[in-house]
Symmetry: C2
Subunit: 198 residues, 2 copies
């Protein structure tokens, strides 16, 4: 309270964003109000445009502006490899790394009895069908190194067993530039178990 109603409504909506509480939403809106022309209007327009045009790719679950996303339609991307990620953010991170030239499958979460997320919600049957139809050679599981992520990875590996496709997962270890001091025990343990001769 304190600001006019329309502005309070805007602050309330902004406060629902992750990383912004009520206080910082208020500060953000104030800054927008000071930069109505150069920032607030373009931001509103960009957001409205994306809200209207964004859609989930019907093949892989990536977000784009067409029924099929740019990665699925890019003839230069290898069809024989599918990288399975939990989330579109993970797909973006993989793309930023620029190390993978195949296609993706976005689960949209991990198996979770609590959240009512089963294999169908995560589009796992669709993944099995893709592997068969696209004659996939390898499925790379790039799931988070959490309990839920690893449970989901095992479930997918089992579901794909009958197809004969090779299933692999990202190596676990010390991140580049990572200081042992700041890593959790699980990471250090995994890095030790996966140690390589140098």
């Amino acid at each position: 309270m304190g600001a006019p109603g329309d502005i309070e409504d805007l602050i309330g909506l902004m406060a629902r964003l992750p990383g912004l509480g009520p206080r910082s939403a208020r500060r953000a809106v104030l800054m927008l109000l000071k930069k109505r022309g150069p920032l607030m209007a373009p931001l509103a327009q960009a957001m409205a445009h994306v809200a209207l045009s964004a859609r989930d790719c019907s093949v892989c679950g990536n977000i784009g502006t067409e029924d099929t996303c740019p990665i699925c339609t890019d003839p230069r991307r290898q069809t024989g490899e599918i990288c399975v990620v939990e989330d579109v953010a993970d797909l973006w991170a993989m793309e930023r790394a620029g190390a993978f030239r195949g296609r993706y499958h976005v689960l949209g979460g991990t198996l979770s009895a609590l959240d009512g997320l089963g294999p169908d919600e995560l589009r796992i049957p669709l993944l099995v069908r893709r592997v068969q139809e696209e004659q996939t050679r390898e499925v790379i599981l790039a799931l988070n190194a959490t309990v839920d992520g690893q449970t989901t990875a095992h479930y997918i590996a089992d579901a794909l067993a009958a197809t004969g496709v090779q299933v692999s997962s990202l190596a676990q270890g010390v991140p580049i530039g990572g200081e042992l001091d700041y890593l959790d025990d699980g990471t250090i343990g995994a890095a030790l178990r996966a140690r390589r001769r140098v």
Copy 2:
């Protein structure tokens, strides 16, 4: 990089908000993408609406949707008292506290040679004219307890001297619920100097 161009543009604009860096802007946009209908579309609409309709009150500098803000046009607000604040955020904070029933004057900053903010930019001549025209009894300086805030307060007190209006400022001291341990030395010193007999 990683997301489609339109979405990257949106992330770039969001990252310019205070409290959101590039990483959290990305997370915020991802959350908006997941809630396109219930959150992203209404947020875009609310923002576009405010960007179009918001304007600075020609009397006091508060932000509203008309030429003159609701506080300046509210006949129940006392005209004899003007509370001077640096920023619209401070006006909102005062209104949330609900302790002041007069009118405001929003400076839009503090005197700063560095930022090229002089008396004219801060609407100080306009304040002097208001005090004369509105027959103001008291001007309450609710400026931040910073060096710039206090320099500005002194300048305004000098500028108003000839009008004969009473000029006061908010009391400094320990905030309610404030633990001495967590207060800076300046606050403790000011509270000690302003001590009252109990």
